[in-house]
């Protein structure tokens, strides 16, 4: 993570959640999660709500198809999904 604040600067509620994720998954928390948890009122909160609606909400596309779209788009963007 290139921004120290986004790596280590989370407020207490988000820091506790990150600790829990680390404990349960027993691996490093992905950077995208740290980004979404950093100042969530600015970006992560509304972004997660949007993502949830698009990826899991009512849709003519199945969840699997939508995940495939996302993976394919990330691939085209040369971004690890």
């Amino acid at each position: 993570m290139r921004l120290h604040a986004v790596e280590h600067g989370h407020r207490l509620p988000q820091r506790l959640k990150l600790m829990l994720i680390r404990l349960v998954s027993r691996r490093r928390v992905p950077d995208v999660v740290k980004t979404l948890f950093y100042r969530p009122e600015f970006f992560g909160g509304p972004m997660c709500d949007w993502t949830q609606a698009v990826m899991r909400g009512p849709s003519p596309w199945s969840v699997g198809e939508r995940e495939l779209f996302a993976a394919f788009t990330s691939r085209l963007n040369q971004c690890l999904f």
């Binding site: 290139r2 604040a5 100042r39 009122e41 600015f42 970006f43 509304p46 698009v54 963007n77």
Partner: protein, 145 residues
């Protein structure tokens, strides 16, 4: 008028409101200018790009273009240089989010307009260089009809 992206308009509007209208470490005008710069004009957003907001410093503008067009090319040194120039982590976080959101909305709008069969609008950032995903107009050898 920012939220016309199909059935998820309310979610789009909420995200835009929080990124552009909340108080932060950068001015709202700067975030608007960054988002507009990263968002290619489209029939949906064409009237919004002229926000008349504040200028973006050249080094930050170059970074915004990089995030918008090929984020995978951003390097540690890009961020280190911006920090040395006096930008805090929070300033860079807000600029990055604004740039990424602008680029994402631009692509979403262009995709939706393509689905509606509308002509593709010119890309104001094309002067920076072709987007890696933009097909070459001449096509690739042997694949043309």
């Amino acid at each position: 008028m920012d939220g016309r992206t199909g059935r998820y308009a309310a979610f789009t509007k909420r995200l835009l409101d929080s990124v552009l209208a909340t108080s932060g470490h950068t001015s709202r005008e700067l975030r608007r200018a960054v988002l507009a710069r990263a968002r290619p004009s489209s029939p949906l957003s064409g009237t919004e790009s002229g926000t008349g907001g504040e200028d973006i410093a050249p080094d930050l503008a170059a970074y915004v273009d990089k995030v918008a067009l090929h984020a995978y090319k951003v390097t540690d040194e890009d961020l280190a240089a911006l920090k040395r120039a006096g930008n805090s982590d929070d300033v860079l976080f807000e600029a990055t989010v604004s740039a990424a959101l602008g680029a994402a909305l631009g692509r979403l709008e262009r995709g939706l307009s393509a689905l509606r069969g509308e002509a593709s609008p010119p890309d104001p950032l094309s002067k920076v260089g072709p987007h890696p995903l933009t097909p070459s107009p001449s096509g690739r050898g042997g694949t043309q009809e």
